[in-house]
Protein backbone atom coordinates (compact mmCIF):
# COMPACT_ATOMS: atom_id res chain seq x y z
CA UNK A 1 0.00 0.00 0.00
CA UNK A 2 1.73 3.20 -1.08
CA UNK A 3 1.53 5.82 1.64
CA UNK A 4 4.37 8.25 1.10
CA UNK A 5 2.24 11.17 2.09
CA UNK A 6 3.59 12.77 5.23
CA UNK A 7 0.83 12.90 7.81
CA UNK A 8 2.10 15.91 9.78
CA UNK A 9 -0.49 17.90 11.70
CA UNK A 10 -1.97 21.29 10.97
CA UNK A 11 0.34 23.05 13.39
CA UNK A 12 3.26 21.89 11.28
CA UNK A 13 1.46 23.36 8.28
CA UNK A 14 1.13 26.64 10.17
CA UNK A 15 4.86 26.73 10.88
CA UNK A 16 5.62 26.02 7.24
CA UNK A 17 3.17 28.71 6.11
CA UNK A 18 4.80 31.29 8.38
CA UNK A 19 8.24 30.34 7.13
CA UNK A 20 7.12 30.40 3.49
CA UNK A 21 5.62 33.86 3.98
CA UNK A 22 9.02 35.02 5.14
CA UNK A 23 10.59 33.75 1.94
CA UNK A 24 11.79 30.36 3.13
CA UNK A 25 11.96 28.38 -0.09
CA UNK A 26 12.48 25.10 1.68
CA UNK A 27 9.23 25.64 3.60
CA UNK A 28 7.37 26.37 0.39
CA UNK A 29 8.89 23.27 -1.14
CA UNK A 30 7.76 21.19 1.81
CA UNK A 31 4.20 22.51 1.58
CA UNK A 32 4.28 21.62 -2.09
CA UNK A 33 5.50 18.10 -1.40
CA UNK A 34 2.98 17.56 1.37
CA UNK A 35 0.01 18.66 -0.69
CA UNK A 36 0.82 18.11 -4.34
CA UNK A 37 -0.88 14.72 -4.38
CA UNK A 38 -3.99 16.01 -2.68
CA UNK A 39 -4.24 18.89 -5.15
CA UNK A 40 -3.54 16.56 -8.07
CA UNK A 41 -6.15 14.05 -6.90
CA UNK A 42 -8.83 16.67 -6.39
CA UNK A 43 -8.20 18.23 -9.80
CA UNK A 44 -8.14 14.82 -11.44
CA UNK A 45 -11.59 14.16 -10.06
CA UNK A 46 -12.93 17.12 -12.03
CA UNK A 47 -10.91 17.89 -15.15
CA UNK A 48 -9.32 15.97 -18.05
CA UNK A 49 -6.08 14.22 -17.15
CA UNK A 50 -4.07 16.09 -19.79
CA UNK A 51 -4.91 19.40 -18.13
CA UNK A 52 -4.14 18.41 -14.56
CA UNK A 53 -0.39 19.05 -14.42
CA UNK A 54 -0.78 22.63 -15.61
CA UNK A 55 -3.63 23.23 -13.22
CA UNK A 56 -1.57 21.86 -10.32
CA UNK A 57 1.08 24.46 -11.15
CA UNK A 58 -1.66 27.10 -11.31
CA UNK A 59 -2.93 26.17 -7.88
CA UNK A 60 0.48 26.45 -6.25
CA UNK A 61 1.22 29.74 -7.97
CA UNK A 62 -2.13 31.09 -6.77
CA UNK A 63 -1.18 29.83 -3.32
CA UNK A 64 2.12 31.71 -3.52
CA UNK A 65 0.38 34.92 -4.56
CA UNK A 66 -2.26 34.74 -1.88
CA UNK A 67 -0.33 33.25 0.99
CA UNK A 68 -0.26 36.62 2.75
CA UNK A 69 -4.07 36.72 2.76
CA UNK A 70 -4.46 33.42 4.63
CA UNK A 71 -5.62 34.61 8.04
CA UNK A 72 -5.37 31.34 9.94
CA UNK A 73 -2.28 29.34 8.91
CA UNK A 74 -3.63 26.18 10.57
CA UNK A 75 -6.45 26.27 8.02
CA UNK A 76 -3.97 25.99 5.17
CA UNK A 77 -5.14 22.57 3.93
CA UNK A 78 -8.78 23.59 3.55
CA UNK A 79 -7.77 26.87 1.98
CA UNK A 80 -5.57 25.11 -0.60
CA UNK A 81 -8.33 22.60 -1.28
CA UNK A 82 -10.73 25.47 -1.99
CA UNK A 83 -8.22 27.00 -4.43
CA UNK A 84 -7.93 23.65 -6.24
CA UNK A 85 -11.71 23.20 -6.46
CA UNK A 86 -12.19 26.78 -7.64
CA UNK A 87 -9.54 26.30 -10.29
CA UNK A 88 -11.32 23.15 -11.51
CA UNK A 89 -14.60 25.06 -11.52
CA UNK A 90 -12.99 27.91 -13.50
CA UNK A 91 -11.70 25.40 -16.01
CA UNK A 92 -15.22 24.27 -16.83
CA UNK A 93 -16.51 27.82 -16.99
CA UNK A 94 -14.10 28.55 -19.83
CA UNK A 95 -15.41 26.73 -22.86
CA UNK A 96 -12.34 27.65 -24.88
CA UNK A 97 -10.08 25.75 -22.50
CA UNK A 98 -12.33 22.71 -22.52
CA UNK A 99 -12.69 22.80 -26.29
CA UNK A 100 -8.93 22.85 -26.72
CA UNK A 101 -8.61 19.57 -24.88
CA UNK A 102 -7.65 16.80 -27.22
CA UNK A 103 -5.84 13.92 -25.60
CA UNK A 104 -5.14 10.88 -27.68
CA UNK A 105 -1.99 9.68 -25.92
CA UNK A 106 -1.87 5.95 -25.24
CA UNK A 107 -5.10 5.21 -27.05
CA UNK A 108 -3.62 2.05 -28.56
CA UNK A 109 -2.46 0.58 -25.25
CA UNK A 110 -5.21 -1.67 -23.78
CA UNK A 111 -4.11 -1.00 -20.18
CA UNK A 112 -4.08 2.71 -20.86
CA UNK A 113 -7.55 2.49 -22.38
CA UNK A 114 -8.83 0.61 -19.38
CA UNK A 115 -7.20 3.05 -16.99
CA UNK A 116 -8.77 5.99 -18.80
CA UNK A 117 -12.16 4.30 -18.77
CA UNK A 118 -11.84 3.76 -15.01
CA UNK A 119 -10.81 7.38 -14.52
CA UNK A 120 -13.76 8.61 -16.59
CA UNK A 121 -16.04 6.40 -14.50
CA UNK A 122 -14.68 7.99 -11.31
CA UNK A 123 -15.18 11.45 -12.81
CA UNK A 124 -18.82 10.61 -13.53
CA UNK A 125 -19.58 9.71 -9.91
CA UNK A 126 -21.38 12.12 -7.56
CA UNK A 127 -19.09 14.87 -6.32
CA UNK A 128 -18.82 13.51 -2.78
CA UNK A 129 -17.33 10.24 -4.00
CA UNK A 130 -15.12 11.19 -6.92
CA UNK A 131 -12.53 13.19 -4.96
CA UNK A 132 -12.25 10.57 -2.25
CA UNK A 133 -11.84 7.74 -4.74
CA UNK A 134 -9.35 9.72 -6.81
CA UNK A 135 -7.24 10.33 -3.71
CA UNK A 136 -7.49 6.67 -2.67
CA UNK A 137 -7.12 4.84 -5.97
CA UNK A 138 -5.00 7.24 -8.02
CA UNK A 139 -2.90 9.05 -5.43
CA UNK A 140 -2.55 6.04 -3.14
CA UNK A 141 -3.57 7.91 0.02
CA UNK A 142 -5.21 5.92 2.82
CA UNK A 143 -8.58 6.84 4.29
CA UNK A 144 -7.01 8.34 7.44
CA UNK A 145 -4.63 10.39 5.30
CA UNK A 146 -7.50 11.68 3.19
CA UNK A 147 -9.37 12.69 6.33
CA UNK A 148 -6.30 14.44 7.74
CA UNK A 149 -5.59 16.32 4.53
CA UNK A 150 -9.12 17.33 3.52
CA UNK A 151 -10.61 18.05 6.94
CA UNK A 152 -13.42 15.53 6.40
CA UNK A 153 -14.22 13.30 9.34
CA UNK A 154 -12.83 9.76 9.08
CA UNK A 155 -16.41 8.46 9.17
CA UNK A 156 -17.37 10.58 6.14
CA UNK A 157 -14.32 9.44 4.22
CA UNK A 158 -15.10 5.82 5.02
CA UNK A 159 -18.71 6.22 3.83
CA UNK A 160 -17.60 8.03 0.66
CA UNK A 161 -15.08 5.31 -0.12
CA UNK A 162 -17.57 2.51 0.48
CA UNK A 163 -20.47 4.02 -1.46
CA UNK A 164 -18.25 5.45 -4.17
CA UNK A 165 -16.55 2.10 -4.73
CA UNK A 166 -19.94 0.41 -4.93
CA UNK A 167 -21.08 2.83 -7.64
CA UNK A 168 -17.76 2.54 -9.44
CA UNK A 169 -18.05 -1.24 -9.55
CA UNK A 170 -21.53 -0.90 -11.05
CA UNK A 171 -20.35 1.58 -13.68
CA UNK A 172 -17.34 -0.49 -14.64
CA UNK A 173 -19.50 -3.63 -14.74
CA UNK A 174 -21.92 -1.91 -17.09
CA UNK A 175 -19.19 -0.62 -19.38
CA UNK A 176 -17.69 -4.11 -19.61
CA UNK A 177 -21.13 -5.57 -20.34
CA UNK A 178 -21.59 -3.05 -23.20
CA UNK A 179 -18.33 -4.05 -24.90
Amino acid sequence: MPANHSMGDFSQDAELVQAARGGDRAAFGELYERYVRMVHGVLLAHVPYAEVDDLVQDVFLIMLRRLDSLREPTAFAGWLLAIARNRAHDFHRRPREAAEFQDTAGRNDPDEQEARAALEAIQSLPEAYRETLSLRLVEGMTGPEIAARTGLTPASVRVNLHRGMKQLREKLGKSIAHE
Binding site: R21, G22, G23, A26, F28, E33, L64, R65, L137, G140
Partner: protein, 335 residues
Protein backbone atom coordinates in the same frame (compact mmCIF):
# COMPACT_ATOMS: atom_id res chain seq x y z
CA UNK B 1 -13.82 -8.69 0.23
CA UNK B 2 -12.67 -6.34 2.91
CA UNK B 3 -13.61 -2.71 3.33
CA UNK B 4 -10.57 -2.38 5.60
CA UNK B 5 -8.32 -2.74 2.59
CA UNK B 6 -10.20 0.05 0.83
CA UNK B 7 -10.01 2.14 4.01
CA UNK B 8 -6.36 1.91 4.94
CA UNK B 9 -4.74 -0.91 2.99
CA UNK B 10 -4.97 -3.37 5.86
CA UNK B 11 -6.85 -6.68 5.94
CA UNK B 12 -7.45 -8.99 3.03
CA UNK B 13 -6.80 -7.18 -0.25
CA UNK B 14 -9.85 -6.64 -2.43
CA UNK B 15 -8.70 -7.84 -5.88
CA UNK B 16 -10.71 -5.22 -7.75
CA UNK B 17 -9.41 -2.37 -5.59
CA UNK B 18 -5.88 -3.68 -6.02
CA UNK B 19 -6.31 -3.85 -9.75
CA UNK B 20 -7.72 -0.32 -9.95
CA UNK B 21 -4.84 0.97 -7.83
CA UNK B 22 -2.37 -0.56 -10.23
CA UNK B 23 -4.20 0.71 -13.31
CA UNK B 24 -4.80 4.21 -12.01
CA UNK B 25 -1.40 4.63 -10.38
CA UNK B 26 -0.07 5.72 -13.77
CA UNK B 27 -1.89 9.02 -13.33
CA UNK B 28 0.01 9.92 -10.18
CA UNK B 29 1.99 13.17 -10.42
CA UNK B 30 5.71 13.40 -10.76
CA UNK B 31 7.18 16.12 -8.57
CA UNK B 32 8.07 18.95 -10.91
CA UNK B 33 9.99 22.18 -10.60
CA UNK B 34 8.16 24.02 -7.87
CA UNK B 35 10.54 22.93 -5.14
CA UNK B 36 12.53 25.77 -3.68
CA UNK B 37 16.19 25.50 -2.81
CA UNK B 38 17.09 26.07 0.83
CA UNK B 39 19.73 28.77 1.06
CA UNK B 40 19.05 30.83 4.15
CA UNK B 41 21.41 33.67 4.74
CA UNK B 42 21.07 36.97 6.54
CA UNK B 43 20.87 39.99 4.26
CA UNK B 44 24.00 41.67 5.53
CA UNK B 45 25.58 39.43 8.09
CA UNK B 46 27.10 37.03 5.66
CA UNK B 47 28.97 39.64 3.72
CA UNK B 48 31.72 39.74 6.26
CA UNK B 49 32.04 35.97 6.57
CA UNK B 50 34.18 34.47 3.93
CA UNK B 51 33.48 30.84 4.73
CA UNK B 52 29.74 31.37 4.73
CA UNK B 53 30.09 33.26 1.48
CA UNK B 54 31.94 30.40 -0.11
CA UNK B 55 29.45 27.84 1.18
CA UNK B 56 26.47 29.73 -0.19
CA UNK B 57 28.23 30.63 -3.42
CA UNK B 58 29.08 26.97 -3.98
CA UNK B 59 25.50 25.97 -3.29
CA UNK B 60 24.23 28.56 -5.71
CA UNK B 61 26.67 27.58 -8.42
CA UNK B 62 25.48 24.01 -7.98
CA UNK B 63 21.87 25.11 -7.97
CA UNK B 64 22.20 27.33 -11.03
CA UNK B 65 24.12 24.59 -12.77
CA UNK B 66 21.32 22.15 -12.04
CA UNK B 67 18.71 24.62 -13.23
CA UNK B 68 20.71 25.30 -16.38
CA UNK B 69 21.10 21.59 -17.07
CA UNK B 70 17.44 20.93 -16.42
CA UNK B 71 16.35 23.72 -18.75
CA UNK B 72 18.92 22.80 -21.37
CA UNK B 73 17.64 19.24 -21.36
CA UNK B 74 13.99 20.14 -21.38
CA UNK B 75 14.38 23.25 -23.53
CA UNK B 76 11.84 25.20 -21.50
CA UNK B 77 12.62 28.83 -20.83
CA UNK B 78 10.17 30.53 -23.14
CA UNK B 79 7.61 33.15 -22.24
CA UNK B 80 4.06 32.45 -23.30
CA UNK B 81 0.76 34.19 -22.79
CA UNK B 82 -1.19 32.00 -20.39
CA UNK B 83 -4.25 34.24 -20.39
CA UNK B 84 -5.39 37.46 -22.03
CA UNK B 85 -8.27 39.87 -21.75
CA UNK B 86 -9.05 42.70 -24.17
CA UNK B 87 -6.51 43.45 -26.89
CA UNK B 88 -2.96 43.23 -25.55
CA UNK B 89 -0.31 43.78 -28.23
CA UNK B 90 3.11 42.32 -28.89
CA UNK B 91 5.10 44.61 -31.17
CA UNK B 92 1.86 46.23 -32.23
CA UNK B 93 0.02 43.03 -33.12
CA UNK B 94 -2.87 41.75 -31.04
CA UNK B 95 -1.68 38.83 -28.91
CA UNK B 96 -3.72 35.83 -27.81
CA UNK B 97 -3.43 32.95 -25.38
CA UNK B 98 -0.50 30.60 -26.11
CA UNK B 99 1.35 33.22 -28.18
CA UNK B 100 5.04 33.50 -27.41
CA UNK B 101 6.84 36.64 -26.24
CA UNK B 102 10.37 36.85 -27.58
CA UNK B 103 13.52 38.77 -26.67
CA UNK B 104 13.36 42.34 -27.90
CA UNK B 105 9.59 42.37 -28.29
CA UNK B 106 7.47 44.88 -26.46
CA UNK B 107 4.18 43.99 -24.84
CA UNK B 108 1.55 46.64 -24.24
CA UNK B 109 -1.86 46.62 -22.62
CA UNK B 110 -4.42 49.37 -23.05
CA UNK B 111 -7.01 50.50 -20.51
CA UNK B 112 -9.17 47.43 -21.18
CA UNK B 113 -6.48 44.76 -21.50
CA UNK B 114 -4.55 42.52 -19.16
CA UNK B 115 -2.24 39.57 -19.67
CA UNK B 116 -0.91 36.61 -17.73
CA UNK B 117 2.61 35.55 -18.77
CA UNK B 118 4.13 32.21 -17.84
CA UNK B 119 7.57 30.64 -17.99
CA UNK B 120 7.90 27.03 -16.90
CA UNK B 121 10.17 26.84 -13.91
CA UNK B 122 9.98 30.60 -13.29
CA UNK B 123 6.40 31.37 -12.41
CA UNK B 124 3.78 33.80 -13.62
CA UNK B 125 3.54 37.52 -14.18
CA UNK B 126 0.18 39.28 -14.37
CA UNK B 127 0.26 42.50 -16.36
CA UNK B 128 -2.34 45.13 -15.49
CA UNK B 129 -4.01 47.53 -17.95
CA UNK B 130 -2.00 50.49 -19.32
CA UNK B 131 1.34 48.73 -19.00
CA UNK B 132 4.37 48.48 -21.28
CA UNK B 133 7.12 45.88 -20.97
CA UNK B 134 10.04 44.66 -23.03
CA UNK B 135 11.63 41.21 -22.80
CA UNK B 136 15.41 41.61 -22.48
CA UNK B 137 16.71 38.17 -21.52
CA UNK B 138 15.17 34.71 -21.61
CA UNK B 139 17.66 32.04 -20.75
CA UNK B 140 17.90 29.42 -18.01
CA UNK B 141 20.02 31.51 -15.66
CA UNK B 142 18.37 34.86 -16.16
CA UNK B 143 14.97 36.11 -17.18
CA UNK B 144 14.98 39.84 -17.52
CA UNK B 145 12.25 42.29 -18.44
CA UNK B 146 12.06 46.07 -18.55
CA UNK B 147 8.94 47.59 -17.05
CA UNK B 148 8.62 50.88 -18.89
CA UNK B 149 5.33 51.83 -17.23
CA UNK B 150 2.33 50.22 -15.60
CA UNK B 151 1.93 47.45 -13.04
CA UNK B 152 2.91 43.80 -12.83
CA UNK B 153 2.14 41.18 -10.19
CA UNK B 154 4.83 38.49 -10.00
CA UNK B 155 4.63 35.04 -8.42
CA UNK B 156 8.08 33.55 -8.83
CA UNK B 157 9.24 30.06 -8.00
CA UNK B 158 12.64 30.28 -9.72
CA UNK B 159 15.88 30.29 -7.70
CA UNK B 160 17.08 33.68 -6.36
CA UNK B 161 18.22 36.23 -8.92
CA UNK B 162 16.99 34.35 -11.96
CA UNK B 163 14.14 36.82 -12.51
CA UNK B 164 14.99 40.49 -12.77
CA UNK B 165 12.87 43.52 -13.64
CA UNK B 166 14.54 46.71 -14.77
CA UNK B 167 12.72 49.91 -13.91
CA UNK B 168 13.89 53.50 -14.44
CA UNK B 169 14.91 53.71 -10.77
CA UNK B 170 16.31 50.27 -9.90
CA UNK B 171 16.67 46.63 -10.72
CA UNK B 172 14.12 44.51 -8.85
CA UNK B 173 15.65 41.10 -8.28
CA UNK B 174 13.44 38.30 -7.13
CA UNK B 175 14.54 36.15 -4.23
CA UNK B 176 11.63 33.71 -4.34
CA UNK B 177 8.52 35.67 -3.69
CA UNK B 178 5.32 37.34 -4.75
CA UNK B 179 5.17 41.06 -5.28
CA UNK B 180 3.58 43.96 -7.13
CA UNK B 181 5.73 46.45 -9.00
CA UNK B 182 4.41 49.67 -10.48
CA UNK B 183 6.16 52.26 -12.64
CA UNK B 184 4.44 55.62 -12.95
CA UNK B 185 4.56 57.87 -15.99
CA UNK B 186 7.23 59.89 -14.15
CA UNK B 187 9.43 56.80 -13.89
CA UNK B 188 8.94 56.34 -10.14
CA UNK B 189 8.71 52.66 -9.24
CA UNK B 190 6.81 51.37 -6.23
CA UNK B 191 7.41 47.83 -5.00
CA UNK B 192 5.13 45.99 -2.58
CA UNK B 193 6.19 42.53 -1.45
CA UNK B 194 3.56 40.06 -0.24
CA UNK B 195 5.67 36.90 0.15
CA UNK B 196 9.45 36.46 0.52
CA UNK B 197 12.02 39.14 -0.31
CA UNK B 198 12.96 41.36 -3.25
CA UNK B 199 16.40 42.91 -3.68
CA UNK B 200 16.30 46.43 -5.19
CA UNK B 201 19.59 47.77 -6.52
CA UNK B 202 20.87 50.79 -8.37
CA UNK B 203 24.58 51.53 -8.35
CA UNK B 204 25.72 51.41 -4.73
CA UNK B 205 22.22 51.76 -3.34
CA UNK B 206 20.49 48.60 -2.23
CA UNK B 207 17.25 47.83 -0.39
CA UNK B 208 16.16 44.38 0.67
CA UNK B 209 12.39 44.43 0.93
CA UNK B 210 10.58 41.73 2.95
CA UNK B 211 6.95 40.62 2.89
CA UNK B 212 4.60 43.34 4.12
CA UNK B 213 6.99 46.11 3.16
CA UNK B 214 7.25 48.53 0.26
CA UNK B 215 9.95 50.70 -1.29
CA UNK B 216 10.11 53.44 -3.90
CA UNK B 217 12.86 53.93 -6.44
CA UNK B 218 13.50 57.05 -8.50
CA UNK B 219 15.45 57.59 -11.70
CA UNK B 220 18.95 58.86 -11.06
CA UNK B 221 18.74 58.15 -7.32
CA UNK B 222 17.82 54.50 -6.90
CA UNK B 223 15.86 52.68 -4.22
CA UNK B 224 14.88 54.40 -1.02
CA UNK B 225 14.83 52.74 2.39
CA UNK B 226 11.90 50.30 2.62
CA UNK B 227 9.03 50.71 5.06
CA UNK B 228 6.15 48.65 6.34
CA UNK B 229 2.82 49.40 4.69
CA UNK B 230 1.18 50.15 8.02
CA UNK B 231 3.63 52.92 8.99
CA UNK B 232 1.96 56.29 9.68
CA UNK B 233 1.45 58.76 6.87
CA UNK B 234 3.74 61.31 8.54
CA UNK B 235 6.42 58.63 8.85
CA UNK B 236 6.17 57.79 5.15
CA UNK B 237 6.23 61.46 4.08
CA UNK B 238 9.32 62.09 6.19
CA UNK B 239 10.95 58.97 4.76
CA UNK B 240 10.28 60.21 1.24
CA UNK B 241 12.22 63.39 1.98
CA UNK B 242 15.06 61.42 3.54
CA UNK B 243 15.20 59.04 0.63
CA UNK B 244 14.95 61.41 -2.26
CA UNK B 245 15.51 65.03 -1.20
CA UNK B 246 19.20 64.38 -1.61
CA UNK B 247 20.42 67.98 -1.97
CA UNK B 248 18.62 69.67 0.91
CA UNK B 249 20.37 68.77 4.18
CA UNK B 250 18.13 71.06 6.24
CA UNK B 251 14.95 69.44 4.91
CA UNK B 252 16.40 65.98 5.45
CA UNK B 253 17.36 66.76 9.02
CA UNK B 254 13.85 68.07 9.77
CA UNK B 255 12.35 65.01 8.12
CA UNK B 256 14.47 62.77 10.32
CA UNK B 257 13.12 64.52 13.42
CA UNK B 258 9.54 63.74 12.35
CA UNK B 259 10.38 60.20 11.31
CA UNK B 260 12.06 59.37 14.63
CA UNK B 261 9.09 60.74 16.56
CA UNK B 262 6.64 58.69 14.51
CA UNK B 263 8.63 55.44 14.53
CA UNK B 264 7.11 52.37 16.20
CA UNK B 265 9.10 49.29 17.26
CA UNK B 266 8.16 47.67 13.95
CA UNK B 267 9.74 50.60 12.11
CA UNK B 268 13.15 49.70 13.55
CA UNK B 269 13.55 47.89 10.23
CA UNK B 270 13.37 51.19 8.35
CA UNK B 271 15.63 52.96 10.84
CA UNK B 272 18.32 50.33 10.40
CA UNK B 273 18.15 50.91 6.65
CA UNK B 274 18.73 54.61 7.19
CA UNK B 275 22.21 54.41 8.76
CA UNK B 276 23.75 54.49 5.32
CA UNK B 277 21.39 57.13 4.03
CA UNK B 278 21.33 59.88 6.66
CA UNK B 279 24.03 62.53 6.96
CA UNK B 280 26.90 61.58 9.30
CA UNK B 281 25.92 64.18 11.91
CA UNK B 282 22.44 62.62 12.20
CA UNK B 283 23.60 59.08 12.90
CA UNK B 284 23.84 59.66 16.65
CA UNK B 285 20.17 60.53 17.16
CA UNK B 286 19.16 57.78 14.75
CA UNK B 287 21.10 55.33 16.95
CA UNK B 288 19.53 56.69 20.14
CA UNK B 289 15.96 56.28 18.89
CA UNK B 290 16.63 52.88 17.39
CA UNK B 291 18.22 51.68 20.64
CA UNK B 292 15.00 52.61 22.47
CA UNK B 293 12.83 50.74 19.97
CA UNK B 294 15.13 47.73 19.62
CA UNK B 295 18.02 47.50 22.10
CA UNK B 296 21.29 46.88 20.29
CA UNK B 297 23.00 43.51 20.54
CA UNK B 298 26.24 43.10 22.46
CA UNK B 299 29.12 44.56 20.53
CA UNK B 300 27.15 47.21 18.66
CA UNK B 301 27.83 50.65 20.15
CA UNK B 302 26.91 54.26 19.47
CA UNK B 303 30.48 54.77 18.31
CA UNK B 304 30.00 52.03 15.71
CA UNK B 305 26.95 53.90 14.42
CA UNK B 306 28.75 57.25 14.28
CA UNK B 307 31.61 55.73 12.33
CA UNK B 308 29.30 53.98 9.87
CA UNK B 309 30.36 50.49 10.91
CA UNK B 310 28.57 47.29 10.00
CA UNK B 311 25.25 46.89 11.85
CA UNK B 312 24.68 43.27 10.77
CA UNK B 313 24.15 41.89 14.28
CA UNK B 314 21.31 44.36 14.81
CA UNK B 315 19.52 43.05 11.71
CA UNK B 316 19.31 39.62 13.28
CA UNK B 317 17.32 41.08 16.17
CA UNK B 318 14.55 42.29 13.88
CA UNK B 319 13.01 38.82 13.72
CA UNK B 320 12.21 39.15 10.05
CA UNK B 321 13.80 35.86 9.14
CA UNK B 322 16.48 35.73 6.53
CA UNK B 323 16.52 36.98 3.02
CA UNK B 324 17.22 34.14 0.65
CA UNK B 325 20.28 35.61 -0.89
CA UNK B 326 21.73 33.34 -3.48
CA UNK B 327 24.66 35.51 -4.47
CA UNK B 328 26.78 37.84 -2.40
CA UNK B 329 27.82 41.23 -3.68
CA UNK B 330 26.31 42.44 -6.90
CA UNK B 331 24.90 39.46 -8.83
CA UNK B 332 25.84 39.09 -12.45
CA UNK B 333 23.37 41.00 -14.58
CA UNK B 334 23.40 39.96 -18.18
CA UNK B 335 23.37 42.87 -20.61
Amino acid sequence: MSDEYLWDGSGTPDPEVERLEKLLGRFRPELRELQFPAAATSPLHTRSRRTEWLRVAAAVVLLLGSVWLMRALTGRAAWTIAGAEGSPRIDGRIAARNDGWKIGQSLETDAASRVRLRVDGLGEIDVDPNSHLTLLQANPTQQQIRLVRGTIHAAVTAPPYVFLVRTPGAYAMDMGCAYTLQVTDAGVSILRVTVGWVDLQHGFRQSLVPAGAAAESRPGIGPGAPYFDDASERFREALEALNFDVENSQARSEALTILLAEARPRDAFTLLNLFRRVDAEDRGRLYDRLALLLPPPAGVTRQNALEGDDMSAWWDKLGLGHAKKGLKGPPRIEE
